[in-house]
């Protein structure tokens, strides 16, 4: 793009999100004024405009598949990873909050409406590593 000397994405909120994730906390933000919960994090509540937001640790990762795609072709470093599945999941404990993340391969075809769980246990010391997993799959990642 035209000028990438400053990364507009590296906002205070993102740095704080990463810092918390590095300590094993997967966090969203809650608006102090209207109580709406937000993910991804940002500088203000887009529902009511309040800039008073409080970090909130996700209570657990239980979720339901709202959408998914299997990428059979990709670019950059992702070209070597195809095919890969990406899920948008609704978090059961946080209504209205969705997380988009890679889904680690299951033995069965995944469909919309399936139960999944967001796992951020491998994030410590390696920021930005969170994944949807199949709830029927034994946890082999640890």
């Amino acid at each position: 793009m035209s000028d990438s000397t400053t990364r507009t994405t590296a906002t205070d909120e993102i740095l704080e999100f990463r810092r918390r994730l590095a300590h094993g906390q997967m966090c969203l933000q809650r608006c102090d004024a209207c109580r709406t919960e937000h993910f991804p994090p940002g500088p203000a509540c887009w529902q009511c405009g309040s800039q008073e937001l409080t970090w909130l640790e996700m209570s657990d990762g239980a979720g339901v598949v709202r959408s998914l795609t299997v990428c059979h072709s990709s670019f950059m470093r992702f070209a070597d990873e195809v095919p890969y599945t990406v899920v948008i999941g609704d978090l059961t404990a946080h209504p209205g909050v969705r997380v988009l993340a890679r889904f680690d391969a299951a033995d069965r075809p995944l469909t919309i409406g399936d139960h999944v769980v967001l796992d951020w246990s491998a994030a410590e010391g390696e920021v930005r590593r969170y994944r949807w997993r199949d709830v029927q799959e034994p946890d082999k990642a640890r």
Partner: protein
């Protein structure tokens, strides 16, 4: 709702021009742009010296208006350009109208030149890095590391959600592709001319990002397009109708911009955009004889049909599968083949086609649709939309 912006045909698209279209142009970007601009100027029955303002759009992949002005031989020329893809043409038509209305310009040329196939390919990321994508995309930090960045991957997630929630079979996407490829068979300049598509061939093609297959992606091309906007009374010609802008809505954003966390992620900005557009233009969605609907992906066209009020949700599948987007259908759409099968300049080629149709340029041939009122839509992701109503007068 603003509603106060009543264009009511004061400004017209008085000329259109294109360069040759190919997968690999031997001409330079500025040379292609100059060809399209020169053709548009001639089509408007103007000379280059009449142009006093140039507007452009690009994605950091082309020279700008000031360079074009130089090679048009203009010693002075106003200009600006926007860093933007889809929704640019309508936005710049609104900009041109405002410039003329406020006395800052009289004859405005709008252009796009790109080597979208042999040069920087949008679908391939135009050579951008992870960091570029994260900067470019709202909420990119939460997309790109997961392997979601290019338009096809982002649209695929919305398409899968929408098809599931509406109970639509994915063959409906093939239905859109088949009809637009059929439309392209009447256009010798379309990339897919001579290459009609059957549903069997569509379904036999593997996924790129499910549920999207190769044909669901627009066809990348090297080409340049140009149009000219001026006051309608100065653009009148005896031998053809003027194509006037009856209403236009430039880029409209609906929140949130990181769309998958909207209360209803399948809702798109086209809904709010069309409400504004139809009120300001004084039209209803059933009034259109022809449409130019942004079709970077088949699903993007499908979704807009409902959002712009053209087809009711439960009727979508029947409407598409029975060929209503074709020449003999209820709403001939992207009659040159669209970006799915003609070529791709982020929307301007579809606008050029609808202008030609409204003027009757193809009269007496099988390419002509009987039409006097047309709808143009633009898309720059689900939360950014444009719209324009064009009328032959």
């Amino acid at each position: 709702m603003t509603g106060q912006m009543t264009m009511n045909g004061k400004y017209a698209i008085s000329g259109v021009g294109v360069s040759p279209r190919s997968r690999r142009s031997e001409a330079s970007l500025i040379g292609m742009g100059l060809t399209a601009a020169t053709n548009a100027i001639a089509d408007a029955r103007l000379t280059a010296g009449d142009i006093d303002f140039i507007l452009g759009y690009q994605e950091a992949d082309s020279p700008g208006p000031q360079e074009l002005a130089t090679y048009l031989g203009l010693s002075e020329c106003g200009f600006y350009e926007i860093l933007s893809g889809g929704t640019s043409t309508e936005t710049l038509v609104a900009g041109a109208s405002a410039l003329i209305e406020t006395g800052q310009a009289k004859k405005v040329l709008i252009f796009r030149t790109m080597k979208g196939r042999s040069g920087k390919r949008m679908g391939g990321g135009a050579g951008w890095t992870d960091e570029d994508w994260e900067t470019l995309l709202p909420g990119g930090e939460f997309l790109v590391p997961q392997g979601i960045f290019n338009a096809g991957q982002r649209v695929a997630l919305l398409a899968a959600m929408h098809l599931h929630e509406q109970g639509l079979d994915e063959s409906v996407l093939g239905g859109i592709c088949r009809t637009l490829y059929d439309n392209a068979q009447r256009n010798p300049d379309a990339m897919m001319h001579g290459r009609p598509l059957t549903m069997d061939a569509y379904l036999a093609t593997p996924y790129v990002a499910s549920p999207l297959r190769l044909h669901d992606y627009c066809v990348e091309t090297d080409e340049a397009n140009a149009i000219i906007v001026q006051a309608t009374d100065r653009a009148r010609r005896d031998d053809r109708p003027s194509v006037v802008v009856r209403g236009v809505v430039p880029k409209l954003a609906t929140a949130p911009t990181f769309h998958y966390n909207a209360p209803d992620p399948t809702a798109i900005a086209g809904g709010a955009c069309s409400a504004r557009l139809y009120e300001s233009a004084g039209v209803r969605p059933g009034d259109f004889d022809i449409a130019s609907i942004y079709d970077c992906f088949s699903w993007v066209l499908l979704r807009q049909l409902e959002a712009y009020g053209l087809v009711k949700g439960p009727d979508l599948e029947d409407f598409v599968m029975s060929g209503q987007l074709g020449f003999d259908g209820a709403l001939p759409t992207n009659t040159a083949g669209g970006m799915l099968s003609e070529g791709y300049t982020h929307g301007m080629n579809n606008v050029i086609e609808i202008v030609r149709q409204l003027r009757g340029d193809y009269a007496g041939t099988w390419r002509q649709v009987r039409c006097s009122l047309g709808l143009v839509t633009g898309w720059a992701g689900p939360s950014v939309a444009t719209g324009m109503v064009l009328e032959a007068r």
